[in-house]
């Protein structure tokens, strides 16, 4: 997918573990792992809001659009 998730980087910067984030935002570790590993197909606004609130960041700090990957997929 052309959207990549940089949750692990933000977590590292905040010194927070995935387990701790899971407890704070009320999302299971399994689901956060799906998000972190880039396997997620969609993210709810409520989840994004909770993550941004706990990590004190903007959605753009977590989600990135990779134009090159998008172009590569379109070319396939």
């Amino acid at each position: 997918m052309a959207i990549s998730v940089k949750l692990d980087r933000v977590l590292l910067e905040r010194g927070m573990s995935l387990t701790e984030l899971s407890e704070r935002v009320g999302v299971t570790i399994a689901n956060l792992s799906i998000l972190k590993t880039g396997k997620a197909k969609a993210i709810r606004f409520s989840t994004l809001e909770a993550i941004c609130k706990e990590l004190n960041c903007q959605p753009g700090d977590i989600l990135f659009f990779d134009d090159e990957e998008s172009a590569a997929k379109a070319a396939e």
Partner: protein
């Protein structure tokens, strides 16, 4: 009525389909043997007739018409067996609580193709029976064709359902 579990329509259907499958298997095996033996029936009868203490009364003659009839039923039983097996597999996924998977979409498509072969079989052998004077009628109906289209539509619905389920499972 419950969707799954004991006393549900799915479980009743599964029992019925299991029973039907056993009957179809017996018929299919019998027809397979007949398909293999019938062309040589006259030779076999002649060979047996020559053995001591065996007396076959009357003439055993197998004609092309007989073989057309057997081949028609053989294809029919094969199609029915395939359809029943696929339906049982679909019901199995329902019992396990995950019917919306890509495999079921493929199974429905397979059932659709099998039913197409079944209708093709009726028409082909029907025309052959006209030529060779066999006892196979061309009895295809519009309802049958609509049912085939319905199965293909259902397959595509399941394909989209499987995609939506995957998306839902991977929504955080």
């Amino acid at each position: 009525m419950r969707a799954i579990g004991k006393g549900s329509l799915a479980s009743i259907l599964a029992v019925g389909l299991h029973f039907t499958r056993i009957i179809l298997w017996i018929g299919f095996v019998g027809l397979s043997i007949a398909m293999a033996i019938v062309p040589f029936a006259t030779l076999i009868a002649a060979a047996i007739d020559g053995v001591a203490n065996v007396n076959l009364e009357g003439d055993i003659s197998v004609t092309g018409e007989d073989y057309i009839g057997i081949a028609h039923h053989f294809v029919n039983f094969g199609v029915m067996l395939f359809v029943v097996t696929r339906l049982l597999e679909i019901l199995k996924t329902l019992r396990f609580g995950s019917p919306f998977v890509k495999e079921n979409a493929d199974r429905f498509r397979g059932v659709g193709y099998a039913l197409l072969i079944g209708e093709g079989d009726k028409i082909t052998f029907g025309f052959m029976s006209l030529i060779f004077d066999a006892d196979v009628e061309i009895n295809t109906t519009i309802i049958s064709w609509l049912a085939i289209i319905a199965v293909f539509v259902l397959g595509e619905v399941f394909r989209e359902g499987a995609r939506m389920k995957e998306e839902q499972d991977l929504t955080v």
